[in-house]
């Protein structure tokens, strides 16, 4: 991938990066290829204050290419799992997770398909999703937007959505925020009166009907037309090529 022409994967990576733009000095934990690339793009360009790890326990001064191993002079701190939990309970963290299923209020499932007691498919389990979503900002990445992933009701609520958070009252849910959902088709947020998922922008070349047909619930479509997701400039595409020299993200995004 040497071309400076932006691909869909590049558009997605920039859309991911935009989720972290105004986060300031907090830790970003990005699960998966495109979230990792997007978070690194943010740190390398417009959000240098973000703290990020190598995926293990080292905080790194600079955004390294995907797959690169840090040298000693890349390190700025130590973040073993015990400190990750302290940080997430402290709230100075923004996580981007995947979602095997997500519903219109942003309830996410990564645990299992079918009844939990004896699942048809055991997935990852809830992992840290319950604690993440109730303690700090969360965003989601869906590389293959379809009606099996964006569903009317998830099989098991791992990450907490807006309706569930609201039911906890003003104290219990006060740290809950789902910033955005990025998919291979568009950008989605919850900036609606009843906190239902809204189409914020369509990636270039994607038709509104394509998104509607591939979403298993009724999306809020803004009155007066839908925005188009920004296309990265050649300069940004250049940074993306440096951060993902193997083109891992190009393979992840379903076109």
């Amino acid at each position: 991938m040497s071309s400076r022409e932006a691909t869909r994967a590049d558009i997605c990576a920039l859309a991911v990066a935009e989720c972290f733009r105004d986060d300031g000095e907090i830790m970003v934990s990005a699960m998966g290829t495109t979230p990792s690339l997007g978070a690194r793009l943010a740190k390398a360009t417009f959000a240098p204050d973000l703290l990020m790890t190598d995926g293990y326990n080292l905080l790194l001064r600079r955004a390294l290419p995907l797959g690169a191993r840090p040298n000693d002079d890349d390190i700025e701190g130590w973040m073993p799992f015990g400190s990750v939990f302290d940080t997430l309970w402290w709230g100075r963290r923004h996580v981007m997770m995947g979602a095997s299923q997500i519903d219109q209020f942003g309830n996410q499932n990564i645990a299992c398909i079918g009844p939990w007691e004896r699942p048809k498919a055991q997935l990852l389990g809830v992992r840290g999703a319950p604690g993440n979503t109730i303690n700090h900002v969360t965003s989601y990445w869906v590389p293959n937007h379809n009606a099996r992933a964006l569903v009317p009701e998830v099989d098991m609520v791992s990450g907490v959505g807006y309706d569930r958070a609201a039911s906890l009252g003003s104290r219990g849910g006060r740290f809950h925020e789902i910033r955005r959902v990025i998919s291979n088709l568009g950008v989605f947020d919850f900036n609606t009166p009843d906190r239902r998922m809204r189409l914020a922008s369509l990636h270039p070349g994607i038709e509104l009907q394509q998104v509607i047909d591939n979403t298993g619930f009724e999306l809020v479509i803004p009155d007066g037309g839908v925005d188009t997701t920004p296309v990265p400039t050649p300069e940004i595409v250049g940074v993306l090529r440096e951060l993902d020299p193997q083109g891992y993200a190009q393979k992840e995004v379903v076109v």
């Binding site: 326990n57 319950p130 609520v157 219990g172």
Partner: protein, 276 residues
């Protein structure tokens, strides 16, 4: 002492705590000793990896208590997946942070520790034993009361230890092995190498001395004792072996062959088999 001697204290139906994290610095020589002993109906409390997977595959695990069960480079433990989908084990699935608080509560001899984690999620639905608690202060906030994860016997693996039971973690993450020891009635520690106390203290920064001798009831020297999980800086994960292990979840004959070659043998023969 030997791993087999340590494991002789485990009886059917006990609750076992296992240190490490996923496929990282797991006390696998103890797990292998548990398989040799054939003790059954175990409840295993673990940030799970192949410890839970192997004990699922051998049918010795009755109940798994976990924040996750993963092989890291293989995101979901395949033998655990199979056991869950076939409904052959009981499960207590907790948020990863809730699990830590359960360990801390046990270590502090508290009935529970409060947290926001779990509120609003189905973790409370699948675990009807979990209760909430109301803050007694003016805020009145409702929180999850994570019950203590008390265990009968804990097993951990360190890089170095002295014969008295002081243990050293030389990797970059200590995980929660100290809490596993303190959550247990009795704990056993294996290590890559037993050294003198002088060598132990000189062998790394003081903060690497994670385990002190109050915490453990016995030390086993087990070179390669975490294999095939990683034990940095002594060795990385044996990814090829882990892939071979993972494949056996899809094929009963392959599992039988794996078990005969690598589990129904002494630790010495295991180490010989994996180094050849």
């Amino acid at each position: 002492m030997t791993a087999d001697e340590a494991v002789s204290e485990v009886t059917d139906g006990m609750t076992i705590g296992i240190g490490g994290w996923g496929s990282r610095r797991k006390p696998m020589s103890f797990v292998r000793a548990l398989v040799r002993k054939g003790v059954k109906d175990l409840t295993v409390v673990s940030y799970g990896g192949p410890d839970i997977g192997i004990l699922c595959a051998t049918g010795q695990l009755k109940k798994a208590v976990y924040g996750f069960v993963s092989l890291d480079s293989i995101p979901l433990e395949p033998h655990f997946r199979k056991a869950r989908q076939q409904g052959t084990i009981e499960a207590v699935e907790l948020d990863e942070g809730m699990f830590l608080l359960g360990l801390r509560a046990a270590a502090q001899r508290l009935p529970f520790l409060p947290t926001r984690a779990g509120l609003g999620s189905d973790v409370l639905k699948i675990n009807p034993q979990l209760k909430t608690v109301k803050s007694p202060y003016a805020d009145g906030e409702e929180l999850v009361a994570v019950p203590a994860l008390n265990v009968d016997i804990a097993f951990i693996h360190m890089n170095r230890a002295d014969a008295q039971g002081n243990g050293q973690s030389l990797g970059r993450d200590p995980y929660f092995d100290n809490l596993f020891c303190m959550a247990a009635k009795k704990a056993f520690m294996s290590c890559e190498k037993i050294v003198s106390t002088d060598e132990l203290v000189a062998g790394g920064p003081l903060q690497s001395l994670l385990i002190n001798r109050m915490m453990v009831g016995g030390v086993v020297e087990a070179p390669g004792g975490a294999h095939f999980t990683e034990c940095p800086p002594d060795y990385p994960r044996d990814e090829a072996f882990q892939r071979e292990y993972a494949k056996t979840a899809k094929d009963d004959d392959a599992w039988s062959a794996f078990r005969a070659k690598y589990l129904d043998v002494s630790e010495a023969d295991y180490q010989k088999a994996v180094s050849s």
